[in-house]
Symmetry: C2
Subunit: 456 residues, 2 copies
């Protein structure tokens, strides 16, 4: 894979030199790389490029683009081009595109494509999101138990090219459409031409149900090394195939969500640069607020033991709250950036953009926590800690600065590690947390010495 | 997938009722599930079961077992059975088994299998670990540019069953063995019988080099949705195929290693229960020591500001060190357990075993940190902080208890979350860290009040 940033430059040049050269270059690229490059344009420019591409390529690129960015670009593309995209895409991909559309518009576009295609899309859409049914393809190659290999090969030869997305397996269905066996195309080739499907097939194949959770089904496929699994409905009839590449996509997204969840970042897997700063904020603030409240417990413990007999200065009661907030933000940021680097959603040449986005997000988070921290310290018991104006001000000023500092460290260090040839993951969340503990306290005490010189 | 624990029970019963019923049941199971169940036996018992299975199944199960466990089991299996396993496995899997062997024994076994097979294993072993060359298969289906589809299909029909592991693609090589094109078997079937390979193929296929890093190549495959990629040597000759199931395995291990690294756990991906407590300890202690040293910096900052004018009691200087250690251990444990649950390496019925292992590991970690913490506090400046015997004792006692407590919380809470139907990952590292902050301090102060009642 080439550097995404150089692809973007290349594409910008080509889009000016006309449709022909653009299409020629696009045909030589992977749609995933094209999508990564086009995500970096402004929506109008991206739409202009996509409108110049043939509808199948444009549709595939839209499919591969991150949801939030694609939604903006789609608004700028005319109906007829979009309808052509929908129609030419494999139907399960066309279904997947819907989350990037205004619902009303999507339904309107469905009326512009051939009725049998829109009917298929509607059938797939009837399955709930997150289930196998939503991701399967209805195009598979099936035969009756008494078909011979000769008939089967002849049938396959005559079928139209786009009818079966990837045929490596042949499914044997009885007259009620119940799956009774499966065999590979290779096996069909090697069998005698007069052998019947029933003799060649392996009976009782593993299946998934259309209502199964997609991640579970995908993990099963990966665990046992399958490249496709037949999908059955509740009555046991075979209605589709869950393909390996869709399963891998599901796993990749599930892994990303788990990695982020483990560092208290919530939300669906989306490419890092496609998320606005406000989206980054929304993914991080909920857990930070929960953790902020939980960390008050620590302050309460310190108050309880410290005040009774130790005569600990009140300034110290806020130490766990402050280093906790810094550590949590640092963990969120370093995990997000490390993951984006591993998935090649960003590369080192993006460092300015990454820092800019992280600091912008840190401003929003810092403002929230500063507000909360100030009032938590200032308000009278039992809501707040009645800590006086000056100390409350110290806490309210230190919190955003520590958040800002933790975000800088958490985003820069993984990139520095990668630049030095190390695995960015060595800049682990505990490492960043520990680093921010020490340096965050310097910030806190320095502010304290300025605002309340008597206490420090 | 059935619960592993019930599989284990079932297997134990079958192994007593004789070889035939055991083989019959094993044939109906996935080797991955069999491996998961057999890992739970004592090595002797596991070896007895594997010796009763046919060599291909036994070899596949050994391949699927975790390294550390398989190594112990292999020691108990006689040479002739093992040699049969090696010979019947796909060669790339036989190569992969080597890390589970005593090297000398492996080389001795190679002399017991047919020379052409051992030669192939040696060729694959010549590629460094972690490269594509080590994981590829040399068995692929190739034709010359002028072969016709008719010849090709005839050739495929006559080839022996085990010659090509999975033939979905046909590779076109020129007379120097340079790869010039590829086409699918399906395309071959649909083309005219007299068409030549050159006319049917897609030129310039994507390749990987045998010396490429396996994880990079696997990520490329996943990104573009390939199910196999041709492998070339430095001179550009095609020497093998990197298959999708091997790539998925590499990705799964890489993801696990990254998830654990992000929580400061080092080491290769291995199934949780297959690791001894000492292995768990070795994976966690290096970073804990680094973080322990780094956290001293925080104590130093607090000393610097606290002692000068704030008259902070010395007991407070150790607060960041203690809650840091607890938080780091908690993050390591919760991430390890969450990952093991996600990969179904453990299930909820294993809870006693998990807690037992974690507390055993916590004892070792706690002992190390207690020793370090005590002397750090006790020794005279500038090596230690000259904190007096009592305070040093408080630190030395609190550290192992906090580690113990963090390990209990970090291992139990993800399982409780799963039991309640939530995603275990909601028990994120920051959440556990925050929880341990508050509760760890209670431990610390309570100990302090007992050992040095004058100070508290």
């Amino acid at each position: 894979m080439r550097l995404i940033s150089s692809l973007t430059e290349n594409l910008r040049r080509l889009s000016r030199s006309g449709r022909e050269s653009l299409r020629r270059e696009a045909a030589r690229m992977h749609s995933e790389d094209l999508a990564g490059a086009i995500e970096r344009f402004e929506p109008e420019e991206a739409a202009a490029i996509l409108s110049q591409l043939d509808p199948l390529t444009a549709g595939t690129v839209l499919f591969d683009m991150a949801t939030e960015t694609a939604a903006k670009v789609i608004e700028e593309i005319p109906d007829d081009h979009l309808a052509a995209c929908l129609d030419l895409l494999p139907m399960d991909d066309a279904v997947d595109l819907r989350e990037k559309f205004d619902e009303e518009r999507y339904d309107r576009l469905l009326q512009l494509i051939p009725p049998e295609d829109s009917a298929e899309i509607k059938r797939l859409l009837a399955h709930p999101e997150g289930t196998v049914g939503r991701l399967m393809t209805e195009h598979f190659f099936s035969v009756s138990p008494d078909s011979t290999m000769e008939e089967l090969l002849l049938d396959l030869r005559q079928a139209s090219e786009d009818k079966y997305e990837t045929v490596n397996d042949v499914y044997v269905l009885d007259e009620t459409k119940t799956l009774i066996g499966v065999f590979s195309l290779r096996k069909a080739l090697r069998a005698n031409p007069e052998d019947q499907a029933e003799q060649v097939m392996r009976a009782d194949p593993e299946v998934v149900s259309a209502s199964d959770e997609d991640l579970d089904a995908a993990r099963t496929m990966a665990r046992y090394g399958y490249y496709a699994l037949p999908v059955v409905d509740d009555a046991g009839h075979m209605i589709g195939v869950f393909a390996g590449d869709d399963a891998q996509e599901v796993i990749r997204e599930g892994e990303t969500e788990q990695v982020l969840a483990l560092s208290a970042v919530s939300g669906d897997a989306e490419s890092y640069l496609s998320l606005s700063m406000f989206s980054l904020f929304k993914r991080r603030i909920p857990w930070l607020l929960v953790l902020f409240l939980a960390e008050n417990l620590t302050g309460w413990v310190m108050r309880h033991y410290g005040q009774s007999s130790l005569s600990v200065p009140p300034l110290m009661f806020f130490v766990p709250l402050l280093i906790g907030a810094g550590g949590n933000v640092g963990a969120q940021v370093t995990t997000t950036i490390t993951r984006a680097l591993a998935l090649e959603e960003v590369d080192l040449s993006d460092w300015k953009r990454v820092i800019g986005r992280e600091l912008g997000t840190a401003l929003m988070i810092g403002a929230c926590l500063a507000f909360l921290g100030y009032f938590r310290a200032y308000l009278p018991l039992p809501i707040g800690w009645d800590s006086g104006r000056n100390l409350s001000l110290v806490v309210g000023c230190a919190l955003p600065l520590i958040v800002f500092w933790a975000s800088s460290v958490g985003s820069l260090l993984p990139m520095v590690a990668k630049r030095l040839g190390a695995d960015p993951a060595v800049m682990s969340a505990p490492f960043i947390t520990t680093f921010v503990d020490a340096t965050g306290l310097i910030i806190y005490f320095e502010i304290a010495m300025r605002i309340m010189p008597s206490a420090a």
